[in-house]
Symmetry: C4
Subunit: 221 residues, 4 copies
C-alpha cells in the first residue's frame, strides 16, 4: 500500500491525510475498546432465557438450563478468542509510534472481522454439530489473525513502530500469530472427524494462550 | 448560530455555557468512539443466523448462508461508510482547538445521523432491490456528510480551529466532502437504472476513499 | 449523606472508600460516555424496518415508512433529551475537583435513570396517543433532572467543586435545571389537553436548550 | 500462576508478553468502562414495552405497566450489583502499579462474569418465584466477587500494587469482599424459605453498600 500511496498526487492527499497523525493511536484504542466491549457483551445475548410457557417446576427449569450447554461453551470459546486478539492488538498498538491513514484502515478492517464474531458464535451455537458452522467460525478467527498480521507487517515495513519493537520482539509477534493460526487450522481440519472434537481442540489451544500451562512444547507458543 | 448567540442575554448564558471549554473535545471524542463502536457492531446483528427448523443437512446450511449475501454486502458497505466518516470526524477534531456549546450540538447532531445508520442499513438489506430503500440509505449518508461539513464551517468561522488548520488544509477537507457527496449523489441517481448498480457504484467510491487506488482521477479525491 | 458518613466507623470506611479519589472523575466520565453512546444508539433500534411480507411495490414501502413517523419523532425527542443531560453532566464534571464514594453513587444513580430512557422512549412511541405513556416519559426526564440537581447540591455542600464554580456559576446551573424542569412539568400537564400537544411543547423546549433561539424570554433559560 | 510462568522458556515468552506493560492498565480501564456501560444499558432492555394489541384504554396500559414490577425490581438489583463491582474494580485498578499478562487475563475473566449478568438478570425476572433462578443469579454474583478477590490476591502476591496499597488497605479490601459474599450467600440460603425474601435481603445488603446507612454493625462492612 505504501507503493500505492507514492503514486498519488502528493499535495492534496498529503495535506488531508497526514495532517493530524498525533492522536490517531489514542482514538484507535478508544474505538477498539468499544468494539471489543460490545462484542464481549453481545455474545452473551445468544444465551436466551428459556421460554416460560412449558416450565412448571424447578426440575423443568433445571432441564431447560442444561439445554443451554452448547451456548455456554461457545460463549466461553468466543470470550477466549476476543481476549487473545484484544491482547494481541494491544501489544501491537503499544509498539506503534504513530499511525497513518492506511494503518488506520487496516485497524478498521481488523475491527470489522472482530465485529463479525457474534454472528459466527451464534451460528456455531445453533448448528454445533455441523461441520460448515465450525468452518465458518474458523474462517472468522483466521480473518482476525490475518488482519492482525497484516497490521504488523505494514507497520514494520513503513517504519511506524517504536525502538522497543526490536527484531526479536517482531519475530516473536509474527511467530505467535503463525503458530496460533496453524493450530487453529489443524483444529478446523479435525472437523472432518467430528465438529465437537474440533471445538474441544480449539478451546484447548486458546486456554494455552490464556493461562500458559507448563506443557513445554506449548509454552513456547 | 454565532449571530444568534450574540443576541442572548450575555451574563447568564455565558457563565453557564462557557464555563468549562477545556475537556469538551475529549468528551466529544469519547462519546463519538462509543457511538461508532456500537453502530459498527449493531449492523452485524442484522445478519441473522438461519432458522434451525428447516435445515437438515450441511447442504441446507450452505444454501441458507448463501442467502445471507445481501446482508453481507450491506454490512461491508456500512462499515466502509462508518470508517470514512469516523476518519473524517477525527481529522476535524484534531484540528479543533476548543469547542463551544454550538459546536458540541453540531457534533451531537452529527452523531444522531450516524446512529441512524443501522436502521438505513437494515432497510437496504431487507429491500435491496427497491429504489426507495437505496434513496433512504443515500439520504442518511448525505445527512452525515452535511453535518460533517457544517461542523467544519462553524469551527472555521468562529475561530475554534488551531493553526495547523491552514487554508490549504481547510480547502482539502471541504473539497473532499463535496467530491465525495457528489459521487454518492451520482450513485443515488443510478438507482433509476438499477438499485444494485447504484450500490455497486457507492461501494466502489467508498473503497476508493479507504484504500486509495492509483486511478489518477480518483486519487485526487 | 455527609451527615450519614460522619457516623460511620471512620478507620475502615475511610481507608477503603477514600484510598483513591484521584482517577475517579476520569472513570465516571468514561462510564458516562459509554452509557450515553449506547442509549443514543439503542433508541434508534426502536425504529423497526417494515416487515417485508406485505410489501410488493415502492408505493407500499413508502406508506410503511410514513407509518414510522411517531418513532422518528420520539427518536428525535430522546436524542435531544440525551444531548441536554450529557451537556449538563459534563458541565458539572468539569467543575468537580474530586469525587468521593457518595458522589460516585449519585452519578451511578443518574446513569441508571438515563439508561431507562430507551424503555420510556419505546413506550411513548408505541402508545403515543396515551396520556400515561407521556407521563411515564416525563417522569423519566424528571428523575434524570432530579439526580443531576442532587449531584450538584451534594458536590457544592461537601466542597468537591473547584474554584471555577463560583456562586454565580452555581446559581446559573441550579436555575437552568429548575426552569427546564418547570417547563417539562408544564408540558406534562398539557397532556390533559392532548398527549400530542404535550410532546410538541416538550420538543420545542428542548430545541430551545439545544439551539438557543433569540426569543428573549427563553434565551435566559 | 507466577510459578507456572517461571517454568516457561524465558526468552520468547518474556519478549512477547512483557514488552509493553505501560498502557495496559489504561486499556483495561477503557475496556471495563465499556463492558459495564453496555451491561448497565442492556439490563433495561429486559423491561419490554407491553404489547399494544390487547390495550384499549389508559387503565389497560396502567395494568400492563404494573405487571412490569418484577422486571423493575431485578433492574434495580442488577444496577446496584454493577455499581458495587464497578467501584470495587476501580478501587483495585487505582492501586495497581502495572499489569502483567496473567493479571490482564484475570481482569478479562472478571469482565466475562460481569457480561453474564444480563442473562442472570433476565432469568431471575422471568422466573422470579423459582429458587433455581435465584441461585443462578447468586452464583453469578459469587463468581464476580471471586474473580475480584483473585485479582487482588494475584496483584498483591506478585508485587504489582503501589505503595498506597498498605496492608491496612489490602485487609479492608479483602474483608469487604468476604463480608459482602457471606451476606450474599446467606441471602441465597434464604431462598429455601422464599425466593422473594431472598431477593429482598440481597437488595437490602446492596443498598447498604451503596448508601452506607448508619446501622452500626453494617457500616463496618
Amino acid at each position: 500500500m505504501s507503493a500505492v500511496h507514492s503514486l498519488q498526487s502528493p499535495t492534496v492527499s498529503l495535506s488531508y491525510n497526514q495532517a493530524t497523525p498525533g492522536r490517531r493511536l489514542e482514538r484507535i484504542a478508544g474505538l477498539s475498546d468499544g468494539v471489543f466491549a460490545i462484542v464481549m457483551t453481545l455474545i452473551v445475548l445468544e444465551i436466551h432465557v428459556p421460554d416460560a410457557g412449558p416450565i412448571r417446576s424447578e426440575q423443568d427449569l433445571w432441564n431447560a438450563l442444561l439445554g443451554l450447554g452448547p451456548r455456554l461453551v461457545t460463549y466461553f470459546l468466543s470470550f477466549l478468542t476476543l481476549g487473545i486478539f484484544w491482547n494481541g492488538q494491544q501489544t501491537q498498538l503499544n509498539l506503534f509510534g504513530s499511525a497513518d491513514r492506511d494503518l488506520t484502515w487496516l485497524q478498521l478492517a481488523f475491527l470489522a472481522t472482530v465485529a463479525l464474531l457474534p454472528f459466527s458464535t451464534s451460528l456455531l451455537a445453533e448448528f454445533i454439530t455441523y461441520r460448515l458452522a465450525l468452518l465458518a467460525y474458523w474462517a472468522n478467527i483466521f480473518l482476525i489473525g490475518l488482519l492482525l498480521y497484516l497490521n504488523w507487517l505494514y507497520a514494520t515495513r513503513t517504519g511506524l513502530i517504536t525502538k522497543e519493537a526490536t527484531p526479536a520482539v517482531s519475530a516473536a509477534i509474527t511467530r505467535r500469530i503463525f503458530v496460533g493460526q496453524s493450530l487453529y487450522a489443524f483444529g478446523a481440519v479435525l472437523s472432518i472427524v467430528s465438529p465437537l472434537l474440533s471445538i474441544a481442540f480449539i478451546v484447548f489451544v486458546q486456554l494455552n494462550f490464556a493461562i500458559a500451562p507448563k506443557i513445554p512444547i506449548l509454552s513456547r507458543v
